[in-house]
């Protein structure tokens, strides 16, 4: 794949921002954007115009009952699946290996999963499942995470609670590729509803709704 020049990227910026750049060309431009801040700024400006065009369309009230039909079709909250529980057990073992504590005791006591455990399947912004989060309530609480396809850099965790309260926690440093991490957290996990993994710029890399 030949990386395009900045001039070539600027020529393609409008089509990229409008979402109509063909696949191969799009991949080349995106690769350039990972390394060129000036071109990222240029594409972002065009993306703002593309977004603003959508905001110009007239408002139209949908047919009667639309809201109730949408609510009736809401996706069910995912139930813990067997695979997710096995991965949670593996993650909890990682927690025990790193820090012992309550989670480690839970394993040695014969229970397969701690009593207050929080699990989330982590998805990338494009919807792919790329990891799992596991949280164990206790004194202290522990979190662990398996995450794939990560670029190098520092990651942070954002725990989302009801009412929109967000607790920011330091996460692992990624060397690139798969990230496995476990750590003690000094906040209660009770009620946590969602998890986000962000990079050093605060951009979301993965997120998921918590099941308990």
């Amino acid at each position: 794949m030949t990386e395009p020049s900045c001039a070539e990227v600027r020529e393609a910026a409008a089509e990229l921002a409008l979402g109509v750049l063909p696949g191969a060309e799009r991949a080349e431009v995106l690769a350039h954007l990972t390394r060129c801040r000036d071109c990222r700024v240029a594409v972002q400006r065009d993306a703002e115009v593309a977004d603003a065009l959508l905001l110009l369309t007239p408002v139209a009230e949908p047919p009667l009952g639309f809201e109730s039909r949408v609510i009736g079709q809401r996706p069910a909250r995912p139930r813990p699946r067997r695979r997710l529980w096995r991965l949670a057990a593996a993650a909890a073992v990682a927690v025990a290996a790193v820090g012992g504590g309550i989670a480690g005791h839970a394993f040695t006591s014969g229970r397969t999963v701690p009593a207050h455990a929080y699990l989330a399947e982590l998805r990338a912004p494009d919807g792919r499942t790329i990891g799992q989060f596991f949280g164990s309530e206790g004194q202290p609480s522990w979190c662990s995470m398996l995450l794939r396809d990560q670029a190098a850099g520092d990651l942070g965790l954002r725990l989302v609670f009801p009412g929109g309260r967000v607790v920011a926690l330091p996460g692992p440093h990624s060397a690139g590729g798969q990230v496995e991490w476990a750590g003690r957290v000094d906040v209660p996990l009770e009620g946590v509803r969602a998890v986000r993994v962000v990079d050093s710029r605060g951009v979301t890399r993965a997120a998921g709704a918590v099941t308990d």
Partner: protein, 182 residues
């Protein structure tokens, strides 16, 4: 005043039905309006609008307010679904001048998603574009047409189609930049 968009989306991510209902009420007019504009068919537009909110519910956990406002986020989902629906029906996008005309006279809703004076500037800039540039950017933005498809539709070379899209974008961007600076 209700909850912020971020609070509603956090509620969506947590599976809170009240947050979902509030989010639907807040944006159903914009979402359905965009779908109708693209598809020109109310029944198909309603299906797209429902799916857009379902997708929003499913992916609320990955919504990042640093990347987009809630309005542009849900409208981008809607636009992509509507274009997919067009392609599935093997339908051609509506006449771009018809779409452009629908964008013109209507004042923006006062929901804070887009400052009214900026909307006026963007509408004026769109109206002031040469006809061929306006058609090109409308076909791309609302029809999902690539430069190659626009070239085939308009009977022009690929390079000319690319130039028209780019030139239109430069003029519209300039109008928005002027709005920010004033």
């Amino acid at each position: 005043m209700g909850l912020s968009d971020e609070a509603l989306l956090a509620g969506l991510a947590a599976g809170d039905e009240a947050s979902a209902a509030a989010f639907v009420r807040r944006y159903q007019g914009r979402v359905f309006g965009l779908a109708v504009t693209i598809l020109g068919d109310a029944a198909a537009a309603e299906d797209v609008a429902q799916e857009a909110f379902t997708r929003a519910w499913r992916h609320a956990g990955v919504y990042d307010p640093r990347r987009a406002t809630a309005a542009t986020w849900i409208l981008a989902i809607t636009r992509n679904l509507a274009i997919d629906a067009l392609r599935l029906r093997r339908a051609q996008p509506a006449d771009p001048e018809t779409i452009a005309a629908q964008l013109m006279p209507v004042p923006s809703p006062d929901d804070g998603a887009f400052p009214p004076d900026e909307a006026v500037r963007l509408r004026s800039a769109l109206a002031a574009l040469p006809d061929d540039q306006r058609r090109a950017i409308v076909l791309a933005a609302f029809g999902g047409q690539s430069a190659r498809e626009i070239g085939e539709r308009e009977g022009i070379p690929l390079g000319t189609a690319k130039t028209r899209i780019r030139a239109a974008m430069i003029k519209l961007r300039s109008a928005m930049t002027t709005a920010e600076q004033s």
